[in-house]
Amino acid sequence: MFKYDRKLITTGLVAILISSVSAFGYEGKKDALDGGMTYPRVNGDYTAYKINENIDKVKINNGRTPTANELKAWDRDIMPDGTGLPDGEGSVEDGDELYESLCAVCHGDFGAGGVGYPTLTGGDISSLTNQRTVPGKDAPKRTIGTYWPQASTLIWYTRDAMPYAHPKSLTNNELYAITAYLLAANGIKVDGQEMDDEFVLSKENFLKIEMPNKDGFYPDIDGKDGIENVRKFFADGKNYGAVGKRCMSNCKDPGMEDVEATVMGIDYELTDVKPPYNNTRNLPKVKKTNSHPGKEGYDKNCAVCHATDTMGAPRLGDSEAWAKITKQGLQKTMIHTIEGIGGMPPKGGNKDLTEWQIQLILDYMISNSK
């Protein structure tokens, strides 16, 4: 499997070969950017693999040139220097309203979390030094205000990935408004000023946003030395905990020579795993018949009103009534379902329904009312 290092053999160091494992290997070099190995592709070999070296000698002309419109459609990333920022603008106040209706279901009021989804605001940058091994210390708070180095990340990610169930549905103005709101809710300053309700965010003032933890990350990857800084970082294992030593007997951690090691068991075992642990080998129980994934949720939460017309609710199967509803668009129908409308309580009265569950239910209702 492993090959002997030819150089060592020819210089007559065979004895070392036998006693030292470090002479075995795939003739790699420890010169990778990450402090690890690279391996040569020579003589038809790449480590243990046989390779066709002619692959490395040809230029293959596949595919075609993208059109200008195609590039415009896809090259939309937003970078720290403002590249890619869209046109448009939005105020903190508008963002507040949009946030309440589009985001608060999952991220909590004012971004404070608490619903199981990521917390977007709050905490103090000084909490980043917290270690929970110190009694009385809470976990560090890693929010937009205390942790994120760049505001471009926020607007880019929000545009592409949020709201979670309908990513890429925000207009540019909505996007600036929500971004402005989240920055304001995090107490972030623009050009030295606090952002009040009237503050309007746009391309023009975006680069003046002052992210509090901008310098909280290393190695420094920016500028022409970025890559070299990464290389230097990985060259020293002490930077990132790569400090293990091979000791074979009477081993103790450095500095702990006089301390007797202790065994720490599980205090509080996490057992809530899905599906539950089970390593028996038997035949599975017969599965239930396949039904629409939204049916169960509909039966439990909505049928009480929607099975008939009596409460003024559009009846399941009433194609005319449902055609009107679907015409207004899924986004709006979702909002009506989540927030309630007329005699319809928010989420049909079950506030524990996730947006995803509601979407499945709506799909079931709509597809059975055609």
């Binding site: 199981g116 270690q131 905990g241 068991g265």
Partner: protein, 437 residues
Amino acid sequence: MTKISKTSTPETEQSSRRDFFRKTAAYSISAIAATTVLSPAKLLADDENIIHHTPWGTTLGDELNKNPYGLPSPYEHNVVRRTASLLSSAGDMHAAISLSPLAEMDGIITPNGLFFTRTHNGVAHIDPNKHRLMIHGMIDKPIVLTMDDIKKYPRESVIHFLECPSNGAAEWKAPQFNSLQFVKGMMSCTEWTGVRLKTILADLGVKPEAKWMLAEGGDGSEMSRTVPVEKVMDDAMIVYAMNGEALRAEQGYPIRLLLPGWEANLCVKWLKRLEFGDEPWYCKEETSKYTTLMPSGKAIQHFYPLEVNSIITSPCPEKPWTELKKGDIVEIEGLAWSGKGTVKLVDISFDGGKNWVEANLKGLVLPKAWTRFSYIYKYDGKPLLLQSRAMDDADDVQPTVNQEKAIIGVEGVYHRNAICTWEVKENGEVNNVQVRS
């Protein structure tokens, strides 16, 4: 042999068939094993599974192509990925992680249905006919490729593990899960097939000032990461197959980026765009997440390689030694891996890390791939603190829990590769513990 015949009862001697079985067994098994396996008490009871015909031996089996796509035996239905609400960034299971059942897996190849999965906006189902890969930015010749175009390049196959850098993240402060699946299951290892990025780029003229490459996914979260061009030119690939078939949707069908040895999160799934540039992009998953917060309050960013690591897979909490008797010979088996290179050796300790012996490596030993190790052990019924410690060819050695904690603290979340400990109790039960000084 003679000893066994003497202790046999007349009843067993009546059956020539059983007598034959006993003799062959006794001849083929070594002296120690024979006394335990063929103890007189065992000889007395007939195994019903041998005495009687079986249902499957007396009926016609299924038509051979009943399942045009083959499935595991129904008896294996508990061998599945598992998840836990703690490992979800959501109230639901669209941005979460599922872990591989390592205790039930053999060799170094993970079956496709058991490959661990992490998604940020659910599992996207991409129509390969409509999928495009765009490569542009600081290159002379930007291109758009269809799946057919991508498959026209010469292909290569390599075996590499992928590991989520949060593998073991629940264990920084203290052990919390009592299973191999949840201690180390955020990783899998596969034979990947695709094209080396260097092969594609040869014709595109990457400009010398292009130091970084943005990789962007086509799922709902548009999952993206910044990758150094140096890695791209070393061993990066665009892969479309795993273990001989198309990528599973959970693994990024129809294509994903493969950066051998680096954070699985960097190996962007559902890959749709690669852009070359001279400055990094600062994506959500390289700022808000996948950065390692240190006790200083500053965080490591762009923490690429999964460092040298290992875990004993047998015994483990799911595969305890409760059925072993003193004197039984067992194999201690495990997995070692390193994102920085090739596993060079693995040591085993029985006393919680004071004293060590070298184990054997077993099977294929490949760079940035799972490597099996093995140690033959005579069980003596005493409690043990079992550990494994791997070393790679970059000469990195796994740190102890204390050594790692002294530098990273306990809030870093990512890149935990400290030595793991299984406590083997006197009754053979196995528990997840940590040795700390």
